[in-house]
Symmetry: C2
């Protein structure tokens, strides 16, 4: 059996906490022998949820935390002041090596601040980057950075390219992943000041396969495996992806319900349509790691359900097995 | 009969020039009595295309231009050096008042440069903004700026909000349009430096209905009528819209062709699905005006077909009839 990965799951974070979070943790443990979970949060509530399921009790631990960081709280002060919160306690466990990873659906800003200040950066990494996988025609692409560092500098983007390449090669198994810089035209002279400064640095950066600019239009077509961008632009890409897909599918569904004829047609195509939806559902691909931290910090959507929690916990296993943290440390120590 | 609008159509611009461009111009003239068109470009080629159709010859004029600005040319030098190109000649006609508007599917950068330097800015407008309509669940929204000014300043964004509001109110008929600033969170303290500086200015800007930040996810849901942003971010929104919709619909179609069962279903739902496609097809909504120029400059997609050209020319009519240029001049003269 492979070495066990120990994952903290912040049981109090997200819209569906603790019920869906606890269920997802149980599902992950039941799906894989080599996963153990530490649930941080209000003991009574967690135990009440755990009571609904059967699982190997040796592999689920509950660590009671009195405090909860709410969605609307200011990230920096929340992390600083709520030392007894499920998130801060969990991050400290990752820091001390009591756990390998933390998964949270809680306050996004607090996850980013906590990741950087509690878990801490890998030596040599200037800025950890939030790096979700997004679906494409050809599979998935990694978006670095999708929200951690607005107004980033060129040197940060170069590191994003390096970290993203290591992640895609080792976690997703894409050899020599194609790195593109998000831009508004294909030519080198296109773009804003940040892109123009970063482009030549990426061209000469060793160890990555830089393919030049990628326009937003080409992302869903699978134009690059690693998409490097500043967090403001990256966050727009991530959220618009969600928004356009949801709206369009709502429209398709409404069209299907418009007459008896289309309703019959809809019944016939339902399974195929469902498969399409699934392939384009970002939650299938686990959470977004905050790449560049000393331990693994995974942010999942605030609206995460049990399935999302489960997938994110399982993702931590691959991350550990492939030694991503060690590979990142090695890359940036030189 | 309403006053005739005189529209220059750059017959040599775009992937499908001159055939589709000329056809679109003819279609527009045939659809509306109060439109006349001036086709600029290589006379022989244009006349050969015109020969295929019947139309009121009083309302289509051909102005021969020897030169053509190619897609790959550098915009600034192309505009400066190719004085006899279909684009520059057309823009000069707008400048002199010989035409009310120009529609071009040619080199995007050249259209933006030519609009600013040849047609010129309205007095008081710091930066004209490329302002396409994008489809939403509730209808359309105006995206300002989608590509004209990367690295814009806060004062530019405030003007975009004002120009966009005038356009949406008068051309699309939305009373008191809701203005949102594109951001990566809903709260006022979120965002990059530009957004944080611009937000308080929009809050106190008279004559607009500012509703705060809009996240990219909310754009397709119709969260705002005017979406104010810097061009780099705006261009990403515009192109990702196209990309996600195209990819998703390809996937739906492929799913529909996967078995006999789904093929039968597909036949039944085809008309409804087609309608959905149409509603989410940006080309249905005409071209993107370069708001803030002294005359109307409309950029259409490089891959534009006759239908797109026709819609863009017809849009010029509404623009003129509603006196948008005059309203913009009035707004910024004070």
């Amino acid at each position: 059996m492979a070495e066990t990965v120990r994952v903290v799951v912040d049981a109090m974070g997200g819209d569906n906490a603790p019920a869906e979070i606890v269920k997802g943790a149980v599902d992950a443990v039941n799906a894989h022998q080599d996963i153990s979970v530490i649930l941080t949060g209000r003991q009574e509530q967690i135990r009440a949820e755990l009571g609904k399921y059967s699982f190997d009790s040796e592999r689920i631990e509950v660590v009671h935390c009195e405090e909860v960081i709410e969605t609307a709280e200011h990230p920096v002060s929340a992390i600083r002041e709520k030392k007894q919160s499920s998130m801060v306690v969990g991050m400290n466990m990752v820091k001390c090596g009591e756990a390998d990873a933390i998964v949270s659906a809680g306050n996004s800003g607090a996850i980013l601040v906590g990741g950087q200040t509690i878990v801490g950066r890998i030596k040599g990494v200037e800025r950890p980057a939030l790096s979700p996988l997004i679906p494409t025609e050809k599979g998935v692409a990694l978006l670095v950075d999708a929200g951690a560092n607005v107004d980033a500098r060129p040197s940060h983007l170069v590191q994003f390219a390096q970290m993203g390449s290591i992640y895609m090669e080792n976690v997703i198994g894409i050899k020599n992943p194609r790195v593109g810089i998000l831009n508004i035209g294909a030519e080198e002279e296109k773009g804003n000041a940040l892109v123009k400064e970063t482009y030549p640095l990426l061209k000469t950066c060793p160890g990555i396969h830089f393919i030049g600019s990628i326009e937003a239009r080409e992302i869903p077509h699978g134009g690059a495996d690693v998409i490097v961008c500043e967090a403001f632009a990256g966050n727009i890409v991530l959220k618009l992806y969600e928004g356009v897909a949801a709206t369009l599918l709502d429209k398709v569904k409404a069209g299907l319900m418009s007459s008896l004829r289309t309703k019959i047609g809809a019944l016939l195509i339902k399974p195929a349509l469902k498969q399409t939806l699934k392939e384009f559902d970002a939650s299938e691909y686990g959470g977004a790691p905050l790449l560049g931290c000393r331990g693994l910090v995974v942010k999942i959507h605030g609206s995460s359900k049990a399935k999302d929690v489960k997938n994110a916990v399982i993702q931590c296993q691959t991350y550990k097995r492939q030694g991503i943290s060690e590979k990142l440390k090695e890359n940036f120590s030189s």
